[in-house]
């Protein structure tokens, strides 16, 4: 293998792939990056066996070939190189790099030790805007569970239908769902459960407006756009019936200023218990009262004017959950609904007159309150 590449292309290629390379691994070849050179240019790939990222970078290929090289070292090296063309070649398992008056030799490993990528069929691929998909990912995947006993909840649900797609994530305490109109005539409904780590790569590499293709095989999903591909393992379902738990009969409605809410909650959090982050919200006509009582630390109180006309309601929450959800509400004003102190609360954006956007709803389960 022999090619010449600009320093920037090398850096950019390595940076795109690096995030899929595990920092600690029992399989040494996984900490390497696969570099392949052929007529089309140079392809760089990395994987942690759950997801794989592969991308094409422009290069002047003199001799085809492939080798895997320690990713971290190569990336560190590329970062330090002067802005000169980089000449790369291999001698057996030895990787050689020359740039300006510097030259380096790194020990690589042959390509056949590197895992092969899943065969994903892009023939009947869904085609959609990378930007739309990234918004869905961004607004929902924060809500996935970190706890490992229910692997389903460690994934993000992506529901694709003929006219609408949705993305849903929850840890069983709070939930985020976003809907987007699409046009996939005759595609039927498909439920995919995807590791958030893969979606983070999608969001990172495909955030632009270009159309991306999404193809699937039995257990894998592939995203591609131009020379860049992301493959991921799918989590086996079924996903819990989230629609059933989204309250339809919440009869208490409030509109509040998001920034005001966030600031008050952040202040409350300082005094709230480290473990439960428990804060009490008391809704009264026109006024929301916050309070926190922490046995070791002390108390905190605050008031915020809000638009609320319902009966007085006292409800407890994990302030961290509320703050997190509020951070993702895309508008300056937020609409909250409640039913009772032990029932789910919902938060939705309030879009200014004439503005429209995808349907977005977050749901937070309360913490039990004292009398």
């Amino acid at each position: 293998m022999k090619f010449t590449i600009t320093r920037d292309n090398l850096q950019q290629g390595l940076a795109s792939v690096a995030a899929s390379i595990p920092t600690r691994t029992t399989l040494p070849v996984l900490s390497n990056i696969l570099i392949e050179a052929d007529g089309a240019g140079v392809r760089m790939s990395g994987t942690d066996l759950d997801i794989a990222v592969s991308l094409q970078v422009a290069a002047d290929v003199e001799e085809e070939g492939a080798l895997t090289v320690p990713a971290k070292k190569l990336q560190e090296l590329a970062r330090e190189l002067p802005e000169n063309p980089v000449r790369i070649s291999t001698k057996a398992d030895r990787f050689e790099l020359a740039c300006g008056r510097a030259s380096f030799k790194l020990n690589g490993m042959p390509r056949d030790e590197f895992p092969t990528f899943p065969a994903v069929d892009f023939h009947d691929a869904w085609k959609l805007s990378g930007q739309v998909l990234s918004t869905l990912i961004h607004q929902t995947s924060f809500a996935v569970s970190t706890e490992e006993s229910r692997p389903i909840l460690n994934g993000v649900l992506w529901q694709l239908g003929d006219r609408e797609m949705r993305m849903v994530a929850t840890n069983g305490h709070r939930l985020a769902v976003m809907k987007q109109a699409v046009n996939f005539p005759g595609a039927g409904r498909v439920d995919l459960i995807i590791p958030p780590k893969a979606l983070a790569q999608v969001e990172r590499l495909f955030a632009g407006g270009e159309e991306i293709e999404v193809g699937r095989s039995e257990n894998h999903l592939g995203f591609r756009q131009g020379g860049t591909r992301i493959f991921t393992r799918l989590i086996e379902g079924p996903y819990p019936n989230y629609e059933q738990v989204i309250p339809k009969d919440n009869d208490k409605h409030a509109d509040a200023d998001k920034a005001g809410l966030i600031q008050a909650l952040r202040r409350m959090s300082v005094v709230a218990s480290e473990q439960t982050h428990r804060v009490r919200l008391s809704f009264n006509p026109g006024l929301l009262r916050f309070s926190v009582e922490s046995p070791d630390l002390g108390e905190a109180r605050e008031e915020l004017e809000i638009d609320y006309q319902g009966e007085p309601l006292d409800i407890g929450f994990n302030a961290a959950y509320l703050l997190e959800v509020l951070r993702y509400i895309p508008t300056a004003e937020v609409h909250l609904t409640f039913k009772a102190p032990e029932r789910a609360a919902t938060l939705e954006p309030v879009r200014p007159e004439g503005e429209s956007g995808p349907d977005y709803l977050c749901l937070v389960m309360p913490l039990r309150l004292l009398e």
Partner: protein, 641 residues
């Protein structure tokens, strides 16, 4: 005693007189039955006399287990001739004169019984001399004084007891072999040595030295001289003063408590005594820090105000009676528990752990006005019956002021957050001022959750109100719950047990035994944060669960808890009541697991919360949460010393 003759019935008055006063020798022999049982009791009485005489060096030598000969020589104040003869009379004592003296008696002897009793059952030679005067030798056989003569002697007293029980064959028959009797003498002398640090002791048997104890600067030194350096390093020191009762002593570090027989010694006012209730209080203090059923060793020194203890209730003074027994037991338990909260109670990797550090006495704010004379037992130069040493003397030498010894190390690195390092996703390493701490993340979190839930239940994790009769626990809990099951415990104030509503309620099918547990413990489980209801058959629905950490699985925790509660385990059997059982199993099943990667923030929070618990160094199974490694040990290993 009758005082008026008219009360004596006619019949008795007409009877011939049969009552007569026993001759002294016989009376003394009867008294000897109570005071002098074995050679060891002779040694005890004679050595106590030497100590009462302010001896600084006491030499005991025995032949044939003391059956043939016991010699006790001291350098105490000695006696003049008249006193030497008087001392052999019954009820002759220099130590008390009036009934009220008994209340505050600080000498070991006071009944004036020992010398005549011993003399009545042996051939006894007393040699004694007061400072600057000629000595006296008195010889007695079977209680009869054979004669008194001058002899040359330095100040002090030597009592030679030969042929014990030569004139009471019935008693001689009950003596054991020389080996057993010798062991008895070693034990009694050891006990006296533990109570009298500033005197030197020597014990020789058939010319061989069994104990050689120089005057000790502090208790750990005496323990090291007596039982060896390695044993001394197994102890930690405890101190507490509460409402006039002061407790000080050494107790065994939980990680080295083993199933071998324990060494337990109790002293009050420097006087050894037995008391199984105090030993039980000691064992209570160790709860959760050692495996259930192990018996920790301890040396406990009590001091109580004059009149708060009666030492005159037992013939050999082996037992005492406290006026306020609950206070004494409570103070012992609290003192030991406080000791078990310190860093020195943590398990250690050191091959040679530090000697126990004697600290200045902790005085509770509401402590009584009794002087801090407990130090008498720890610091050289202080003697029983003498005023306690002043503060400065106490702070010097081996005594480390409390705030330096404890505060310096208990919470590591006061200047900033210690850098924490996770090892194999299981242990957290932290730097402390004296070296390195290895924290087991699971055990540490167990301790945190256990104490938190016990507080949530309204019981202190270790205090006496944790002791609740089994039957009561249900009703106490039930009383806190309204009719409609609205057991809204004040989660804010009750230590942070909170219950997160679940979006997808859990449905659990249970075994019959597990279902019974849920039915019995429903109220407590709810207060632990598990809100559930029966759902027909043996199925329950869980609507809300606690959330002790971000990786917590309510389903797994609850299932594991119910399985253990239904099946029983060492842990559930160790619990005293349902509160503890629930808290222990919740802690055990709900705590962060080994193998869980933690962020620096999470480690820091775990660390901070661990050191905010009552017993940060011990989990609830009797295992350590922290193992420490000292700089001294590292220096030794790297050859820096």
């Amino acid at each position: 005693m009758l005082t008026r003759t008219e009360q004596i019935p006619q019949a008795l008055q007409s009877m011939p007189r049969r009552i007569h006063v026993l001759p002294d020798t016989l009376a003394n022999q009867i008294a000897a039955g109570e005071v002098v049982e074995r050679p060891a009791s002779v040694v005890k009485e004679l050595v106590e006399n030497a100590l009462d005489a302010a001896a600084t060096r006491i030499e005991v030598s025995i032949q044939n287990g003391g059956k043939t000969e016991i010699r006790v020589a001291d350098d105490g104040c000695g006696m003049g001739r008249d006193d030497a003869l008087l001392a052999l009379d019954r009820y002759a004592t220099s130590k008390i004169a009036r009934p009220e003296d008994l209340k505050g008696v600080r000498t070991l002897g006071f009944r004036g019984e020992a010398l005549p009793s011993i003399a009545s059952v042996s051939r006894l030679t007393l040699e004694t001399a007061e400072p600057g005067s000629v000595g006296t030798r008195v010889r007695v056989a079977g209680g009869r004084v054979l004669g008194a003569e001058d002899c040359a002697r330095q100040t002090g007293t030597t009592v030679l007891v030969q042929s014990l029980f030569f004139n009471v064959p019935a008693r001689a028959k009950f003596l054991k072999g020389a080996g057993v009797e010798t062991r008895g003498i070693v034990d009694i002398l050891s006990t006296l040595a533990l109570a009298n640090l500033s005197s030197a002791f020597l014990l020789q048997s058939n010319g061989r030295t069994l104990l050689e104890l120089p005057a000790a600067v502090d208790l750990p030194t005496r323990v090291a001289d007596l039982w060896g350096d390695e044993i001394a390093r197994r102890f930690i020191s405890v101190q507490l003063q509460r409402e006039g009762v002061s407790v000080a002593g050494l107790v065994e570090r939980p990680d080295v408590v083993s199933p071998t027989p324990r060494r337990a010694h109790l002293f009050v006012g420097g006087r050894p005594f037995r008391d199984r209730f105090l030993i039980a209080a000691l064992d209570r203090a160790y709860r959760t820090t050692i495996v259930q059923g192990l018996r920790p060793s301890a040396l406990i020194y009590l001091d109580v105000p004059a009149g708060a203890v009666d030492v005159n209730v037992h013939p050999s003074k082996a037992e005492v009676r406290f006026r306020d027994r609950d206070l004494v037991e409570g103070t012992v338990e609290a003192a030991v528990r406080e000791g078990l909260a310190g860093l020195d109670s943590a398990a250690t990797l050191d091959a040679t752990p530090a000697m126990p550090q004697i600290r200045r006495l902790t005085t509770e704010p509401r402590g009584g006005g009794v002087p801090d004379n407990q130090l008498a037992f720890f610091v050289a130069g202080a003697r029983r019956g003498e005023p306690p040493p002043d503060e400065d003397a106490a702070a010097g030498g081996a005594v480390v002021p409390l705030d330096e010894a404890v505060a310096a190390d208990a919470v590591p690195e006061p200047e900033g957050p210690p850098s924490l390092w996770q090892l194999h996703d299981t242990y957290i390493l932290a730097e402390s001022r004296s070296g390195l701490l290895l924290i087991d993340q699971h055990s540490a979190h167990e301790r945190i959750l256990y104490e938190q839930l016990m507080r949530g239940f309204g019981s202190t994790p270790h205090g006496p109100d944790g002791v609740r009769p089994e039957a009561e626990s249900g009703s106490v809990a039930a009383a806190a719950v309204g009719e409609d099951g609205e057991d809204e415990v004040d989660v804010g104030r009750s230590g942070g047990v909170a219950s997160q509503r679940l979006l997808f309620p859990l449905t659990l099918r249970l075994s019959p035994a597990e279902y019974t547990v849920v039915e019995d413990a429903m109220v407590l489980l709810r207060r632990a944060g598990f809100e559930m209801e029966p759902f027909g058959g043996r199925t329950v629905i869980v609507h809300a669960a606690p959330q002790p950490h971000p990786y917590f699985s309510p389903e797994r925790c609850l299932r594991d808890m119910l399985a253990e509660l239904a099946g029983g385990s060492e842990l559930t059997r160790a619990a005293r009541n349902q509160h503890e059982r629930i808290a222990m199993t919740f802690a055990c099943k709900g705590a962060i697991k080994a193998g869980q990667r933690l962020s620096p923030r999470e480690m820091q929070e775990l660390f901070d919360r661990l050191f905010a618990t009552e017993l940060p160094y011990h989990d609830v199974h009797g295992r350590p949460t922290v193992v420490r490694l000292s700089l001294q040990e590292l220096e030794r290993r790297f050859g820096r010393t």
